[in-house]
Amino acid sequence: MAKMSFENHIMKQFDEELEEIRTRLMEMGGKVEQQLQNAVKAVTDADSKLAEEVISEDQSIDSMEVDIDEACILIIARRQPAASDLRLVMMVTKAVNDLERIGDEAKKIANHAIILAEQSGSAEGYTEVRHMGASVTRMLANALDAFARFDVDAAMRTLEEDKQIDLEYKTALRELVTYMMEDPRSISRVINVLWVIRSLERIGDHAKNLCEQIVFVVKGKDIRHQ
């Protein structure tokens, strides 16, 4: 028997549907990434307008989530996917959820950006925000790259980045607490910065989930909670 091509389903339409949810997930990932970058920028540049944009754009992410979920349900109902196809569909439904949550966190950051822009005061904590923002954006980008290529090694590497982000979070927390003790007048402002940092840390966790799901798709191994 001649070698068969491993990618192709007998039903071409099934191929297309799987490709479609993959593409749409990447699309959503790109959008979420953009939202995150803009949200962080809105904080550090005190750009309320940009923050407003992020907030209003969140809706499009929500509707992407709903659409992709619907497409996945339809695939399950129509095609009864098995093995790697099944894992891909399950992964996409979960990944979409994580991406949507990242979008929510970006929106929260944008909300705080507006409050921070209204309050005048020192730029204490902005270095941390910028720094963590960069780490988290990078991690999310790496996770999405790993998904685009189904690259388990890249996913495993990216997964480790979350530890670094957690560490940065703790360090920033400690610093800002110290600052608040030294200057109690700054408390209400710094707390807003803390919320931003907290959101960034959560985004790191969601990006980690994405990486775990990539491993699940390719290896069929569930590495959560290990």
Partner: protein, 329 residues
């Protein structure tokens, strides 16, 4: 892909910013002696975009059936009812089954799946010597039930077929009454001493086949007057009336509608409490629903045997994966 592409420059930028110095040095280093290697690497990355699901399979597996030597997965059982070792089956000169070894455990539902002509039905039929009736058919290897060789010359084939019952693709009731259909086996095997005994066997068998409630009022009407699904359940009742140890089912639902199919599947689940069942099916979903272990056949070779939940989520062999995900051309 265009939206994903638009997202890429941003990624690339952030990457370049972050990973900057150390990685570049490393790259430059490796680039000097391995100039030739850079090209295939780039190609690999492209190929990975869609094919990357493949690496989960162990090395040495091939989609080319001619390369296939050993069955992967868990073919054997500690609690075997039937043991088959190195089975070859020939139809004349043509070899239909190549060196298949597998156990079927007690009270297990073993599903056999595979594309048309892969030998799953042939293999099933060796289990109660149905192939004896096919001219030019030759079976080699050891097939034992509870350690007893089924192909021993002394063995009584009629008795064997009582112990290993069979249900076929199309319902084939005898052109007799419902009652007679079920009572026939016990009668010729002398399983009933009296009319009362026989009545009891018939009722029990029909109950086990969940047909009793539907036919108890018309036991003496012809079996052929029942609906397709009922006929098939009648055939199952007929098979279990002689208290077999093993029931072989050759696509028992392929001629039935979904409701009748669901009833048969429900029945298979119940029957597995008392019997060992081997079922050949073309419906992968059916195999996934009813069986405990699944064996995948391909062109006369046994490719993989594994617990059903594994076969349908993480098959071990890429041929199995290709088949159950519908990728065979």
């Amino acid at each position: 892909m265009s939206p994903a592409d638009t997202a890429k420059p941003a990624k690339a930028a952030s990457k370049a910013a972050s990973k900057s110095a150390p990685k570049k040095v490393a790259k430059a280093k490796s680039a000097v002696p391995k100039v030739k290697k850079t090209e295939p690497k780039a190609k690999k990355a492209v190929a990975k975009t869609r094919k990357a699901v493949a690496p989960q399979f162990k090395a040495g597996q091939s989609l080319d059936i001619d390369d296939h030597q050993i069955t992967v997965g868990k073919s054997f059982s500690d609690n075997a009812k039937m043991t088959m070792r190195n089975i070859d089956v020939y139809y004349g000169d043509k070899q239909a089954i190549h060196n298949v070894s597998i156990d079927i455990a007690k009270n297990e539902v073993m599903a056999m799946i595979g594309p048309s002509g892969c030998g799953k039905s042939t293999f099933l039929r060796t289990l109660n010597r149905m192939n004896d009736t096919v001219e030019g058919c030759r079976v080699e290897g050891d097939i034992c039930m509870d350690g007893e060789n089924l192909y021993a010359p002394k063995l009584d084939v009629v008795e064997l077929r009582a112990r290993v019952g069979m249900v076929f693709q199309k319902p084939n009731p005898f052109p007799k009454s419902i009652y007679e259909n079920v009572a026939y086996g016990p009668k010729i095997h002398g399983l009933a001493d009296s009319r009362v005994d026989l009545d009891e066997i018939v009722e029990n068998s029909l109950r086990k086949a969940s047909l009793w409630e539907e036919v108890k009022e018309r036991l003496h009407q012809p079996g052929t007057g029942l609906s397709g699904g009922q006929q098939q359940r009648l055939c199952i009742a007929r098979a279990i009336a002689v208290s077999p140890e093993v029931i072989l089912m050759d696509e028992p639902c392929s001629a039935l509608d979904p409701i009748a199919t669901a009833k048969i599947e429900e029945l298979i689940e119940e029957l597995s409490e008392n019997f060992t069942i081997a079922i050949v099916t073309h419906s992968m979903q059916q195999a996934a629903r009813v069986s405990h272990r699944t064996a995948y056949f391909h062109l006369g070779k046994l490719i993989e045997v594994n617990p059903t939940e594994q076969v349908f989520t993480m098959p071990e062999h890429q041929l199995t994966e290709a088949y159950i995900t519908g990728r065979f051309g």
